[in-house]
Amino acid sequence: MASAAAGDVRAFERLYRTHLARVHSLVRRMAGGRDTDELTQDVFVRVWQKLGTFRGDSAFGTWLHRLAANVVIEKFRSEALRRRRLSGDDTVFDRLAAPRQSGDVSMDFEAALEKLPDGAREIFVLHDVEGYKHREIATMLEISAGTSKAQLHRARMMLRRHLNARCGV
């Protein structure tokens, strides 16, 4: 990592390949599958630019994933857009036909995740997949902790309906 921070591109490529799967998956889930490759590239370019600022206060992976989340958040940040992203249709799973069961529960769950409204999905990924607390999410998304909790519950309830539909409940 020190070599990469000193401008060694080969060393940075090794860092990139080590963390690519994790970052790409985080970006894909937060962005709902949109512009995933482009955003992933944006993340690593930002990492290259900011590598000299990593102080070692946390694990490098933790620092990197926080930066990746911020890149996605910035991409979709706008006041009007955020209002739309925190509203959206809660009945999306009711209206859609029951999802075709691929036999791979994880794949079905990922597909269901992509169907969530943007804001609810973003918060679900940050909290339940990435492990951030509501206070941290509130700071990152510039919302209140109460809004973060409400949106997380909304996302979970929608995914619960998806799982129930999958089981024929």
């Binding site: 790409h24 339940d128 997949v129 206070r135 979970r156």
Partner: protein, 224 residues
């Protein structure tokens, strides 16, 4: 569903939930099988979130990243002029014309039916039509010839820079540097996705801009 249903996630996570609120919800759960069922399902959802697998992209994203990293490094214009050569105005004009012909000779062959489509037609087509022509392949790019002609022009300009005003030279260097970075970025990205219509259009446009700039420089050198 009742009012307590909306608090079940908060109860599950326990973040910032004081003891009295927790006790109230637990009292409710004891007497509400429906809420207990919902709570179990919410636990299932959070458990599944923790078992998701990470995957890699289908293509290699590194070339695009490397190009953007590399483009942040500037290459001094003067570094290219490794040797002084004598040049004449006719030679400069001839090289510029050759470059113009090469750039204009970039054509695209559709994979479907082998129809030759001029890049300017694609660029001018409405958005939906451009997407419909997405399946095209690059042909006759003549990279080596283009680069050789550009190198000759740049060396000629470097040799003739004394005839130009220093401020003009600085503007030329800045603009050529910016165009070169755009060209290199497109080249690197096309290495991973050679049939990408947007990238090919972008590269052709950058080369056209370089041509226009070199023409202007030629005209200025001729006046001087």
């Amino acid at each position: 569903m009742d009012a307590y249903t909306d608090r079940l996630s908060e109860y599950l996570d326990g973040e910032d939930l004081d003891s009295s609120d927790r006790a109230e919800i637990e009292d409710h759960l004891e007497g509400c099988p429906a809420c207990r069922a919902v709570l179990a399902e919410l636990r299932d959802v959070t458990a599944r979130a923790g078992t998701l697998h990470d995957g890699t992209p289908e293509g290699d994203l590194w070339p695009g990243i490397a190009a953007r990293i590399d483009s942040a490094r500037t290459i001094p214009f003067t570094a290219r002029a490794a040797r002084r050569i004598s040049f004449t105005i006719p030679q400069l004009v001839a090289a510029s014309l050759a470059l113009m012909l090469l750039s204009g000779a970039v054509v695209w062959v559709s994979r479907i039916g082998g129809t030759r489509v001029d890049i300017e037609s694609i660029a001018a087509a409405p958005g939906r039509d451009r997407r419909a022509i997405a399946d095209v392949a690059m042909a006759d790019f003549a990279d080596a010839q283009y680069d050789e002609a550009v190198a000759d022009l740049e060396e000629a300009l470097a040799a003739g820079r004394d005839t130009l005003d220093p401020q003009t030279v600085r503007v030329l260097e800045d603009n050529l540097g910016a165009i070169d970075r755009a060209i290199e970025q497109s080249r690197q990205a096309l290495g991973a996705d050679p049939a990408n219509l947007f990238l090919n259009t972008h590269l052709a446009a950058a080369r056209q801009r370089k041509l226009a700039l070199l023409r202007s420089a030629t005209a200025l050198a001729t006046k001087g």
